[in-house]
C-alpha cells in the first residue's frame, strides 16, 4: 500500500478525499492491510471459496410486467432532470 496504489483506488472508486482525510488515508489503509493480512496465516489449501452463507439456489421470476411507469415519483428527489432525463455534465466518448 503506497500513495500510487491509493491514488488508483480513489480514481477507481471516484472519491475525492478531504485534505484531513487525505493526510490519514495512507496510514489508515496500511493499518487495515495489516489487519486483513492476519488471515494469511490460515491454511486454506484445498478450501473452496464461500460466496454465500446459505446453500440455496437462485429463485426465478415469471416473465411478467409488474411495474407501472412512475417517473414523477422516482424523479421527485432527483438532483437534476429535464424532459424526464437525468442530466450530467457533458460526456465525451
Amino acid at each position: 500500500m503506497n500513495q500510487e496504489v491509493l491514488d488508483k483506488l480513489t480514481r477507481l472508486a471516484q472519491l475525492a478525499l478531504a485534505p484531513e482525510e487525505a493526510r490519514h488515508a495512507l496510514a489508515d489503509l496500511r493499518a487495515i492491510v495489516d489487519l486483513i493480512d492476519e488471515m494469511q496465516t490460515v491454511d486454506t489449501e484445498g478450501v473452496a471459496p464461500l460466496a454465500h452463507p446459505l446453500d440455496m439456489e437462485q429463485p426465478l421470476r415469471a416473465d411478467r410486467v409488474t411495474e407501472q411507469p412512475a417517473r414523477e415519483r422516482y424523479q421527485a428527489g432527483a438532483p437534476l432532470t429535464r424532459d424526464g432525463l437525468y442530466l450530467v455534465p457533458k460526456v465525451v466518448e
Binding site: K8, A16, E21, E38, M39, T41, V42, P59
Partner: protein, 476 residues
C-alpha cells in the same frame, strides 16, 4: 406505567381498553421529545404520521381485528426505506432522501398495525461500532450518556433501553444488533441470514446484512421477529422456511468456545461464567468446544464486507438521488466531489479497502482468501453443532466505551471479534443482558444453527426467567 410493560401486557392493555394506541403513542412521543435531545437516538420523529397510524390501530382494535402488534409503538433503524419518512442511513449522502417505497419489513409491520414513531440513529451506512460515524452525531447510551450505545444500530438499542419504544428494528452485518444490545442492556436478535427480507434495507454488505429485532426481553423480541420474518419473492436470498417457533431449552447441550475468552475483560469473563451457571441450573449442559478459526473472522469479515460495500455504494453518484456536488465541471468532478462530500471518513475507508481487495493482483490474496476463510468459519459452526445444540459466548470484549476514546479505525473493527464469526457463517445469534461491569451492561451471546432461532428464544427466555438483568432500567 405502560411504557415499562412488556408486549404481552401492552397487547392486553390495548385490547382491554385500559389505554388506547393514541395514548400509548402520545406517551412515547412525549418521552422522546424529552429525552431525544440528550440521547440523539432518533434522526427523524414522525409524530403526525404516528398519531394517524395509532388512530387507525384503535379503529382496528375496536373492530376486533387487531393483530399481535396493532397499536404497539416501534421504531425503524434509518436504513429501512419508508415511503412516508426520509431514510438517511446516517449519511450526508442521503440526508434528504425520501424513498418512493416501503421496505418489506416496514410494509409488514405497517400491515400488522404497529405504530412507527420514527427512524433511529445509526453509524453511516451501518459502518461502525459506536454510532460516531453518523452524520447526525452519535446516539448516546442511556446508562451513561457520555458513553457509546454501540453500533451500528446504536439509536435503536438506546431508544429501547431508555424506554422510548418497546420494540425497534435493526440490522446486523458484523454485530450491529448484538453489540449495541449488549452495550445498552437490551435483548437483540440477529436472525439467520435469509430469515428476514432485505428488500428495502439499504445495503452495506449483501451477503452479511440481516434485519433483526430489539426489545426489552426475549419474549418481546419474539413478537417482533414473528411480524418481520418470512419469505419475500423480491429478495432472491430470502429463505422459504416455516415460521419460527420456540424450542424447549431444558436438556440442551451448550458449547462454550475456548477461543472466545481471548481478550475478554476480567469482569466480563465473570459475568459470562455466572451466566453459564444459570443456564446449567436451568437444565442445560455446558461444555468446552473449539471454533478454531475465530481469530481470522475479523480480517475475513473486513475484506468481504468492504468488497461488497465498495460495489453497493457505487450507486451514490449524484445522478439519480442523494447528494450532488455544486456546479460540477465534468462528469468525474461530479462523481468525485458528490461522493467525497456525501460520504464520511469511515465509509471512504471501507470503499477504498473494498476496491483494493477486488482489484487486479489482490483479488486472490484477499477476496478469495477471505471467502475460503469464511467457509472454514462456517464449517467450525457446522462441526460444533454436531455436538452441541447452541453456543454460548460473550458479545463484546468490554463494556460500552466512552465516546471519542476509540480513534483508531482498526481498534474499532476489533470490537466485532465475537460477533463476526456468526455473521460470516450466517447463523442466528442473540444478545441477552447478563450483568454489569463498572455500572454498564454486558451481554451474553447465544448462537444456534441455521434457522434454529427457536432454540435461541427458548434459551434466552429460560435465562430471563432465572435472571432479572433485562428488567433493570437506567435511571431517568
Amino acid at each position: 406505567m405502560a411504557h415499562a410493560a412488556n408486549i404481552a401486557a401492552l397487547r392486553h392493555g390495548l385490547d382491554a381498553g385500559e389505554y388506547s394506541a393514541r395514548e400509548l403513542t402520545q406517551d412515547a412521543l412525549g418521552r422522546i421529545d424529552a429525552t431525544n435531545p440528550l440521547l440523539n437516538c432518533f434522526i427523524t420523529i414522525t409524530a403526525e404520521q404516528a398519531l394517524a397510524d395509532a388512530d387507525a390501530a384503535d379503529a382496528r382494535i375496536a373492530a376486533g381485528n387487531a393483530g399481535p402488534l396493532t397499536g404497539i409503538p416501534i421504531a425503524h433503524k434509518d436504513l429501512f426505506c419508508t415511503a412516508d419518512a426520509p431514510t438517511t442511513c446516517g449519511s450526508r449522502m442521503l440526508a434528504e432522501y425520501m424513498p418512493p417505497y416501503d421496505a418489506t419489513v416496514v410494509a409488514r409491520l405497517r400491515t400488522a398495525g404497529a405504530v412507527s414513531l420514527g427512524k433511529t440513529n445509526m453509524d453511516e451506512f451501518a459502518m461502525g461500532a459506536s454510532n460516531e460515524t453518523s452524520w447526525f452525531g452519535p446516539a448516546r447510551n442511556p446508562w451513561r450518556p457520555q458513553h457509546t450505545p454501540g453500533g451500528s444500530s446504536g439509536g435503536a438499542a438506546s431508544a429501547v433501553a431508555a424506554g422510548l419504544v418497546p420494540l425497534a428494528t435493526g440490522t446486523d452485518t458484523g454485530g450491529s444488533i448484538r453489540q449495541p444490545a449488549a452495550f445498552c442492556g437490551v435483548t437483540g436478535l440477529k436472525p439467520t441470514y435469509g430469515r428476514v427480507s432485505r428488500y428495502g434495507m439499504v445495503a452495506f454488505a449483501s451477503s452479511l446484512d440481516q434485519g433483526g429485532a430489539f426489545g426489552r426481553s426475549v419474549e418481546d423480541v419474539e413478537w417482533l421477529l414473528q411480524a418481520m420474518e418470512g419469505h419475500d419473492p423480491q429478495d432472491s436470498t430470502s429463505a422459504e422456511r416455516p415460521a419460527t417457533t420456540r424450542a424447549a431449552a431444558a436438556g440442551m447441550t451448550l458449547g462454550l468456545p475456548r477461543e472466545y475468552w481471548d481478550g475478554l475483560d476480567a469482569g466480563m469473563a465473570q459475568c459470562l461464567q455466572a451466566a453459564t451457571r444459570e443456564l446449567e441450573a436451568g437444565g442445560c449442559t455446558v461444555r468446552d468446544i473449539s471454533l478454531p478459526h475465530t481469530a481470522a473472522a475479523v480480517p475475513a469479515y473486513y475484506v468481504i464486507a468492504s468488497a461488497e460495500a465498495s460495489a453497493n455504494l457505487a450507486r451514490y453518484d449524484g445522478v439519480r438521488f442523494g447528494h450532488r456536488a455544486d456546479a460540477p465541471k465534468s462528469l468525474d468532478d461530479l462523481y468525485r466531489r458528490s461522493r467525497g462530500e456525501g460520504f464520511g471518513a469511515e465509509v471512504k475507508r471501507r470503499i477504498l479497502t473494498g476496491t483494493y481487495v477486488l482489484s487486479v493482483g489482490y483479488y486472490d490474496a484477499y477476496y478469495l482468501k477471505a471467502q475460503r476463510v469464511r467457509r472454514l468459519i462456517r464449517q467450525d459452526f457446522v462441526d460444533a453443532f454436531g455436538a452441541v445444540d447452541a453456543v454460548v459466548a460473550p458479545v463484546t470484549p468490554s463494556v460500552a466505551f466512552e465516546l471519542g476514546t476509540v480513534q483508531d479505525p482498526v481498534a474499532m473493527c476489533r470490537q466485532d471479534v465475537f460477533t463476526t464469526p456468526a455473521s460470516l457463517a450466517g447463523v442466528p445469534a442473540m444478545s441477552v443482558p447478563c450483568g454489569f461491569c463498572d455500572g454498564l451492561p454486558t451481554g451474553l451471546q447465544l448462537i444456534a444453527p441455521h434457522f434454529e432461532e427457536g432454540r435461541l428464544l427458548a434459551l434466552g427466555a429460560a435465562f430471563q426467567r432465572r435472571t432479572d438483568w433485562h428488567l433493570r432500567q437506567p435511571s431517568a
